[in-house]
Amino acid sequence: MTEAIDGLTAGSLTALILGPLILALVAVALPRRRLIDSAVMLLALLLLALLLPLSRAVLTHGPLVMDLGGHDAPIAIPLYVDSLALGMLWLLTLLALAIHPYASAWLQRSDHPHADDYPALWLVLWTGLNSLVLSGDLFNLYVMLEVTTLGAVSLVMLGQSAGAVSAAARYLFFALVGSVLFLLGTALVYADIGLLYMPMIAVHADASPAIVVALLAITAGVAMKAALFPLHAWLPIAHASAPTPASAVLSAAVATAGVYLLLRLWLGPFAGTWTITTAQGIGVIGAAGILYGSAQALRQQRIKVIVAYSTVAQLGYLLLLVPLAQSPLAWQGAVYHAVTHGLAKAGIFLAAGNLILAIGNDRLENLSGADQFAAKNLLVIGIAGAAVAGLPPTGGFIAKWWLLSAALGQGQWWWVAVIAVGSLLAAAYVFRILQYAMRQPENRAEIDPRVRDQSLPYALLWPPALLAALALGLGFSGELLAPFLQVTDLSPALGGTGR
C-alpha cells in the first residue's frame, strides 16, 4: 500500500497537518493580525489545491496509507485517506476558507479584546481536526482529540461572558471524561491485541470482554465529544453563549469530525463485532437523536439554540450508516450528508451571526421585519436550511435520496419513515425562523435604518453566501463526485456482520 504514495501525496498529507500547526506557532510568535489572516487564507487555498491531486490519487489507487517517521507497520503511526476522509478534508478546508475571514471580521467589529489571539486558536483546532481525520493510530487519535478539545473550548471561551465561560467549562468536562474513556478503550485494545495500528486491527465477533468494554468506552468517549444524542447536553448550552464563528466551527466541523471518527472505528477495526441487533440498535439511537433534536429545535426561542439542536438531529443521520452499511449508496449518502450539512450549518450560523449583529440578540420574537434589513442573510438561511432539510435541488436532497434508496433497497423500510419525518421536522424548524422574520413589525418606523445588510463589512457577507452556494451546488454535482464516494471494498466494514 505504501508504494502507491508518491511525493506529492506525501507532501499533501504532511501539509494538511503541519501547515496549520506551523502557522499556529507563527501566529503566537508574531501576533500581526492582517498578516496572519492573509496567511490563513493562503494556506486554505493551498490545501484546497493540494486536495485535488490527493482526491485523484485516492480515486485511482483506492485508500492510501502512509506510515510516518520511517517506521514500518505496525509500529509506525499511519495516515489513512479514503473517500470518507476525503469528504471530511474537503469540508474542513472549505470551512476554514469561509469561517476564518468571517471570524476575523466579526471579532474586529465587536471590538473583542482578544481578537488577536483568535487565529492561533483556530489554527490549533484545525491541526487537531485534520489529524483526527487522517490518523490511523489509536493512541495518536487520543492525543489529537485532546488538541481538538483545547482548541474548541478556547473558541467557546472567546464569548467572554459568564455564560460563555460556564458553557466552556461544561464542554471541557464532557470532553475530558470523553478523552479518558477513549484512552481506556485504547489501553484495553492494546492489552488484548497488542496493536494500535488501525488498518491492521480487525476485531471479530467472538471478541473478548475486554474488547467489548473497549468498544463501549471509545463509543461513549467520542459520543460525548461529538455531542451525539443522548450525550449532547453541552452543545446547545455552548452554542447559546459561544461567539457565532465558534458555534459554526463546533457544529459544522468538531461535531462532524467526532461522528466521522466513530464511523471510522466502528466500520473499520471494530466492523467484525456488529450483529444485526447491535447495528439496528445504533440506528435506533440515531433515529432517536433525529426525532429528539428536531422536536427540541421546534420548541426553542433562540436561533442559535435552534440550530444547535438541529445539529444534534442531523448527526443522527450519520449513525443510520451502521445498519445500512452493506449498501454502497448508504456510504455515499452519509458522506454527502456530512459534507452538505457541515457547509450548510456553518452558513446558517454565520448568517444568523449577521442577524445578531443587526438586532443585538438572537431571539425569534425580535426578528420581525428582518426581511427588510437582512434579506440576503435570510435568503442564505433559507437556502442552507433547505439543504439541511434535504429539499431539492440542494446537496442535502441527493444525500437523502441515496440514504432512502439504501434503506428501501435493503428492505429496511422503517428507516425510510425516520428519514422522511426528520426531513419534515427540519423543514419545519427552518421555516419557523423564516416565519418570524417575515412577520411585519407593528410599527415600520421601529426598524433602525442604520442596520442594513449594506452596513456590514463585505467579509461578513460573502462567507455565509459562499457556504450556502456550496451546499446548493452539491445538489448538482452528484454525478461529478460520486466516483470519489464509491466505496469499492466494503468487506472490511462488513466482515462477519452475520447478515
Binding site: A386, I398, L408, L424, M438, G478
Partner: protein, 494 residues
C-alpha cells in the same frame, strides 16, 4: 443550432429562473428595472413556448438531459401534455405579471414578491417539462418552497398561519411522493415518463404496485386539493389577489392535477391503473371533491373563499377525466386544465379589482358592482357562466366531453354528478351575478358613479376573459385547448 433548439425546454425553464435571480439581486429600490426584467422575461418565455408549441405540433422531439447523480437524470422534454400546461402558464404569467405590477404598486417587499413569483413560474414550467418523476419532484418541491413567501406576503398572523398550513400539507405530500419515487426508481431502474406507462414491465406484485400508486397519488393529490387534502387551499386565500390567481389557475393546483395525469398516463399506464382498480379510486376522490367543494362554496360569505372552494371543485374535473379513463372523458379533463385556468384567473382578477378599487371582499358588498365597474363585472359574468358550464364559454366543452366520455365507458353515474355539480355551480355563482347587476348600489355609495379599476388591472382581466370565451367559441380550431387535448389523447390511446 439543432442542439440549442432541441434543448428548448431548458431555455423555457431558465427564462423565468434568470428573471427570478436578477430580480432578487437588483433589490427593492429599483422598481422600473424590476418591472422591465419581469415583462421582458415573460415575453421571451411566451415566444419560446410558442416556438416549442409549433415544434411539438410538427413532431419535433425536444429533449434536455443531464445526469445529477449516477442513475438519476435531470431530464426535461416537451410532449403534447407538456405544452398544455406550459402554454397556459406562459400566457398567464405575462398577464398576471402586468396585473401584479399594478396591483402591488404601493406594497412592501416587491423585490421578494416578484422574485419568488418568477421562481414559482419556473417551477411550474419545470413540472410541465419534467421528463421523469425525479425531475418532476425537484420542481414540485421548488414550487412549494417558492410559493410560500407569496402566501405569507402580507406578514399578518393570519397569513403566517395560512403559510404554515400550506407548507405542512405540501411538504408532507412531497415526502410521500419522494418515498414513492424512490421505490419506482428501485423497481424500474429509472423514472422516465413513457407513454403507456412503464410500471407494468417491472413485474412487481400487485400489492406493492397499489402501495406505490397510492403514495404517488397522495403526494400529488395534496397540491390538486382533493378532499380531504384540500384544507390548505381556502386558507391560502389570505395572499394578495395575483398570488391567488396564480395558485389556483396555473401553478400549484395545476401541478398537482398534472402530476395525477402523468402518474396515470405515463408512469402506470391506463391499463395497469385499471387492472389495479386505481382508476376508481381517482374517479371517486374526484367525484367527492367536486360535490364537497361546491357545497362548501355555497356556504361562504367571502368572495375569495367562494372562488377558492370553487377551485377545489373544478380542478377535480381533470382528475375525473383521468379516472373515467375513456378517450372523450380524457379530452374533457385535459381541456379543462386550460379552461379552468383561464376562467378562474379571470374571476380572481375581478375579485382583485373589486378589493383594490372599492375594498369589496364580502359577497354582500357586491350589490350594484356591475354599475360601478361594468367592464370588470362583465368579465366576471363571462367567467362565472363558463364555470357553470353555459355555452359557448370554455367550461361547457369540458363538461360536455366528460359526460359523453362517461356514457361511452358505461359509467352513467357521471351524468347525474355533472348535473348536480352544475346546479351547485349555478347556485353560488348566479346570486353573485344577480347582486352585481340587479341589486341597487348601497345608499352610502350611490353618488360614486362609475369607477373602474386602473388600466393595468383592467386589461389583464379583459384579456383573460376573452381567452376563456375564445377557447370555447373556437374549440374546433387547431391549437385550441380542446383540439390539443384531442391530440394528446389520440397519442395516449394510440
Amino acid at each position: 443550432m439543432s442542439a440549442v433548439y432541441s434543448a428548448m425546454p431548458l431555455w423555457v425553464v431558465l427564462s423565468s429562473l434568470v428573471a427570478a435571480v436578477l430580480i432578487l439581486i437588483v433589490g427593492e429600490p429599483y422598481g422600473r428595472t424590476r418591472a422591465a426584467i419581469n415583462v421582458v422575461a415573460a415575453v421571451v418565455k411566451l415566444l419560446l413556448v410558442t416556438v416549442m408549441l409549433w415544434g411539438v405540433g410538427q413532431g419535433h422531439d425536444f429533449q434536455f438531459s443531464a445526469t445529477l447523480a449516477p442513475g438519476i437524470d435531470f431530464h426535461l422534454h416537451a410532449d403534447a401534455l407538456t405544452m398544455l400546461l406550459s402554454v397556459l402558464s406562459a400566457i398567464l404569467w405575462l398577464v398576471t405579471t402586468i396585473y401584479a405590477i399594478g396591483y402591488l404598486k404601493d406594497s412592501h417587499d416587491r423585490a421578494r414578491f416578484f422574485g419568488f413569483f418568477s421562481l414559482c413560474v419556473t417551477a411550474t414550467m419545470g413540472v410541465a417539462a419534467a421528463g421523469n418523476l425525479f425531475t418532476f419532484f425537484i420542481f414540485y418541491e421548488l414550487l412549494s418552497l417558492s410559493t410560500w413567501p407569496l402566501v405569507v406576503h402580507d406578514g399578518t398572523p393570519k397569513a403566517m398561519r395560512a403559510g404554515a398550513a400550506y407548507l405542512a400539507f405540501t411538504l408532507v405530500g412531497g415526502a410521500l411522493l419522494l418515498v414513492g419515487i424512490v421505490v419506482v426508481q428501485l423497481l424500474a431502474g429509472g423514472t422516465g415518463f413513457t407513454p403507456g406507462g412503464f410500471m407494468a414491465a417491472t413485474g412487481a406484485s400487485k400489492t406493492l404496485l397499489v402501495c406505490v400508486f397510492l403514495l404517488l397519488f397522495a403526494g400529488t393529490a395534496v397540491k390538486a386539493a382533493l378532499v380531504p387534502l384540500h384544507v390548505w387551499l381556502p386558507r391560502a386565500m389570505v395572499a394578495p389577489a395575483p398570488v391567488s390567481a396564480l395558485l389556483h389557475a396555473v401553478a400549484v393546483v395545476k401541478a398537482g392535477a398534472f402530476g395525477i395525469v402523468r402518474l396515470v398516463y405515463d408512469v402506470f399506464g391506463l391499463e395497469l391503473t385499471a387492472l389495479l382498480g386505481m382508476n376508481h379510486v381517482v374517479a371517486a376522490a374526484a367525484a367527492v371533491t367536486i360535490l364537497y367543494g361546491s357545497m362548501q362554496a355555497l356556504k361562504q360569505t367571502d368572495l375569495k373563499a367562494v372562488l377558492a372552494y370553487s377551485t377545489v371543485s373544478q380542478v377535480s374535473y381533470i382528475a375525473l377525466g383521468v379516472g373515467i379513463g375513456s378517450p372523450l372523458a380524457s379530452i374533457g379533463g385535459l381541456a379543462h386544465l386550460v379552461h379552468q385556468g383561464l376562467m378562474k384567473i379571470t374571476l380572481f382578477f375581478c375579485a382583485g379589482n373589486l378589493v383594490h378599487t372599492h375594498g369589496v371582499t364580502k359577497i354582500t358588498e357586491m350589490d350594484g358592482a356591475g354599475r360601478r365597474m361594468p367592464w370588470t363585472m362583465s368579465a366576471f359574468t363571462i367567467a362565472a357562466l363558463g364555470m357553470i358550464g353555459v355555452p359557448p364559454v370554455a367550461g361547457f366543452l369540458s363538461k360536455w366531453y366528460l359526460g359523453l366520455g362517461g356514457l361511452q365507458h358505461g359509467q352513467s353515474w357521471i351524468v347525474p354528478l355533472l348535473v348536480i355539480s352544475t346546479i351547485l355551480n349555478a347556485a353560488y355563482f348566479l346570486p353573485l351575478i344577480r347582486r352585481a347587476w340587479f341589486a341597487p348600489v348601497p345608499g352610502n355609495q350611490r353618488d360614486a358613479g362609475v369607477r373602474e379599476a386602473p388600466a393595468s388591472l383592467l386589461w389583464p382581466t379583459l384579456v383573460a376573459a376573452a381567452l376563456a370565451l375564445g377557447s370555447g367559441f373556437l374549440g374546433g380550431m387547431p391549437y385550441s385547448p380542446l383540439e390539443w387535448a384531442r391530440f394528446i389523447v389520440e397519442r395516449v390511446y394510440g
